[in-house]
Symmetry: D4
Subunit: 150 residues, 8 copies
Amino acid sequence: MQWQVYLSGEIHTDWREQIAQGCQALGLPIQFVGPVTDHAASDAAGDLLGVPADNFWRDHQSARVNQIRTQTLIQRADLVVVRFGPQYKQWNAAFDAGYCAALGKPYITLHDADLVHPLKEVDAQALAWAQTPQQVVELLAYQCQGLSRD
Amino acid sequence: MQWQVYLSGEIHTDWREQIAQGCQALGLPIQFVGPVTDHAASDAAGDLLGVPADNFWRDHQSARVNQIRTQTLIQRADLVVVRFGPQYKQWNAAFDAGYCAALGKPYITLHDADLVHPLKEVDAQALAWAQTPQQVVELLAYQCQGLSRD
Amino acid sequence: MQWQVYLSGEIHTDWREQIAQGCQALGLPIQFVGPVTDHAASDAAGDLLGVPADNFWRDHQSARVNQIRTQTLIQRADLVVVRFGPQYKQWNAAFDAGYCAALGKPYITLHDADLVHPLKEVDAQALAWAQTPQQVVELLAYQCQGLSRD
Amino acid sequence: MQWQVYLSGEIHTDWREQIAQGCQALGLPIQFVGPVTDHAASDAAGDLLGVPADNFWRDHQSARVNQIRTQTLIQRADLVVVRFGPQYKQWNAAFDAGYCAALGKPYITLHDADLVHPLKEVDAQALAWAQTPQQVVELLAYQCQGLSRD
Amino acid sequence: MQWQVYLSGEIHTDWREQIAQGCQALGLPIQFVGPVTDHAASDAAGDLLGVPADNFWRDHQSARVNQIRTQTLIQRADLVVVRFGPQYKQWNAAFDAGYCAALGKPYITLHDADLVHPLKEVDAQALAWAQTPQQVVELLAYQCQGLSRD
Amino acid sequence: MQWQVYLSGEIHTDWREQIAQGCQALGLPIQFVGPVTDHAASDAAGDLLGVPADNFWRDHQSARVNQIRTQTLIQRADLVVVRFGPQYKQWNAAFDAGYCAALGKPYITLHDADLVHPLKEVDAQALAWAQTPQQVVELLAYQCQGLSRD
Amino acid sequence: MQWQVYLSGEIHTDWREQIAQGCQALGLPIQFVGPVTDHAASDAAGDLLGVPADNFWRDHQSARVNQIRTQTLIQRADLVVVRFGPQYKQWNAAFDAGYCAALGKPYITLHDADLVHPLKEVDAQALAWAQTPQQVVELLAYQCQGLSRD
Amino acid sequence: MQWQVYLSGEIHTDWREQIAQGCQALGLPIQFVGPVTDHAASDAAGDLLGVPADNFWRDHQSARVNQIRTQTLIQRADLVVVRFGPQYKQWNAAFDAGYCAALGKPYITLHDADLVHPLKEVDAQALAWAQTPQQVVELLAYQCQGLSRD
């Protein structure tokens, strides 16, 4: 059994690589996917269609172009990991979590203990809260235990 | 035709009252609902069941108790208005927006122009972005135009 | 049993009034709803939120504001009547028909015989094709036959 | 990750080939599908079952035979591109767009700037509006960026 | 609590009246609905739209007109009773049962013991098999037991 | 706003009455529904259709007759309360909880602390765990706070 | 693109083989599946679990065992062909058609012209009516036209 | 055709192995999956995230971690077998059955005759009740009969 895991949220640290490498080291049958994580490219995703005069609509156009990918990959995923870092608003991460909750798509969160209170509604629907990428790797290893790799 | 509108998000200003009073002044056939907006009561919503020893689980328990109401009322609503104020993380508001998006439930956002960039993914699925409660009232008046009140 | 019927499409003739009056004359228990049919108001529906610099985004904003109403009313309706007149592109009417088809929402079409060929995909999912408002009235009267009015 | 993209709409120019060749040149892992684009064959799709005496029912029968394919392929697709050319009514293309909207299936449109106003309801639910096949190729290349080809 | 019950199938005996009168005698809070049971009117339901030259398409048109009503009323119903009599093919009744099964809509069957074997697939998804209208009345009375009438 | 609450599970104590009376004393706008709680009547629910020779099929027939009511009432409910008492297997209560979980229907559990471990999977999807009927009353009162009674 | 086609209905003639061989001769990328067509084995499908004393429950048990397969295969299929022969009640075939209709699963019918009237409700939701296996082969060949075989 | 079968319930006997070996001996194209069946590991599944101070929340955390796997595997399965043994509460097994019922996912039960009465609601939605692993093997062999192995 092959798992597909979508890694949503923070793009300024290497948490995605830590999880992917940790799972690879264990030989887990997991394919990781996620959004485009090049910040500038993501903000400009719609510019190839023409740059709107208003900032709002430029952002709107790029965000909708990005949703082609995020909607498709989240709907295909078996599990979504939503990461909140110490900086920035990260409303897109909370939006993805709400999106998963309504779809009945399992998700877990990854954040430090000092974000527990403001994330309580997001965590309340998550199937787990992890504090480190290593914990996520262990959780994923547990899920794969005893399953055939085919 | 009676509309039911859920007012999600910020609880520290009187934007809910402004919208409700503006619609009432126009005689619009709209019923407004929303979360419990007493901050302390909301944080303690689960305490009557016993107070967990860990902060995480106390928050978790209260957040789940609150979701009995928010899930039911959002699913019943015809439209959701999601308000982001200038302060706090407000991840619950972004979570509600993502929840609406996945359900195909129409929602609009209400926030100042300086939040446009961090809210771009949330706005990208919204059917409108308003900057003032008065604009929301006008939008709602437009929706009701020419419909029987029965 | 009360029926709710959504009248979609052409806004330049009085077909909506003909159907409503015909049904009222027969005392049928039907409530009719539809989009805002004031053309100028509909095109400007989003302008109260600020007028975008680009025509595309002005249209986009107004169209999304109108979809708050059309999505809600179509989802509530028992039956949708989609009218195509002799003029204009009327892609919004075909869009509404496709929207109904995917939802499994019953719809019928109302158009002249010379539009049969270009509308064949739209008619192929419709439960009936009528050529006159009077035929629609008769169809609706048939649906109500023998049902209690409560 | 393999993408499946459905190409809906206009059948009188080579836009499908342009997109397919552009993506092939970039080595993108995308499979393109679409309706039968031989106009005469499509109109006669149902004739093998017997030709109805009335034109309406001949069109009806062929359109329903074609929907076996279009419904199946649209439901399987990750993304739908809906093309509107300068000629003809093309209500089937708008119908496909509405069908996608109700399913929550991501779609984008491809049309010239002079069709912006009549297509505003169709564009309002699209995740992007492109004006050239080359823009579609670039959009698709962006979606595939950084994803494994397996 | 008010129940809505759809009575599907045979139209040549008075089983619908027996059930309705039996429930009325007990004062049960149930509203009964069903198809148009005037055989000739039902076969001619589409003729007001013009009579197709081919018998197949005349039947097709009338059957689709009837489905406006049957689809709507079955989807609204809390329970469907499907009656099979001793005569005729009655494929429409079995079709309604399959339709209910896929929707997860509770249905029961009403037929004599000599139809048990050919109806085994239909009965296998039914929540009950009754042999007389009086049994259906008793079943419905049981369902209402102890519920408030509001 | 009127709430509908389904009370599932144990039928040997008066917990339903305690909750209903507690809510009535507070004037909460809640309608309570539930299964038929007369044990003998429930076991014999299908006997009016003829008593099967095998015990398994007698139980099967009665259980399916009861599901006409339970499925309908659970699907209509805003919230389900699932009660586990100290005795009996009560697999039907756990079944109802799983049914709610898959529907995305909010439910809470009501049981003593010594059942926490064997009920952990049931509680894991519940939005709250209460130990007394009085706690359920307080939870419901909280949900209704600040909502109009219309 | 590989198609999966479910062949439902009559089991006393070789129509399934005719369709499969016709498609194989054309090299169409179609996998055919269907129910167990050994009549005696199908009627006895549940007997291995013990033979119920009542005929009704023996039929019931076997029919439910068969539905494990039919439900799974119909839900996986891209298209269902429902065959009605000149003999027997064949209510299971009409049941499968209704099941497909409610799922939005495309189906076509295969029957002689003298069954048109009693099958009008079944045909009304079918995407095509064929009279011979050869016509079904041609229809399927048309669906596969121009699609890659991968 | 490959089947995926989820084996839910009792973890203290070797019924899973008996079914898997029986099917392997017959060369059936079935992949079996299930929960983590190491009791201690399952109870401690969440402990790697930190051990909550309260027993209730420790159980809650572990149960939610386990649901990542069970929800995903049940939703992917073609059939679920739910086993009830002679000991323990086994509410999780009944919960899985209710979960399947609401999803429309076919499931069968496996238990001794003395559990028939308390399991009547669970069996009432099951497509079969087996008493031995060997019967399950025979049932599965029947399902695969005549299907291609590809």
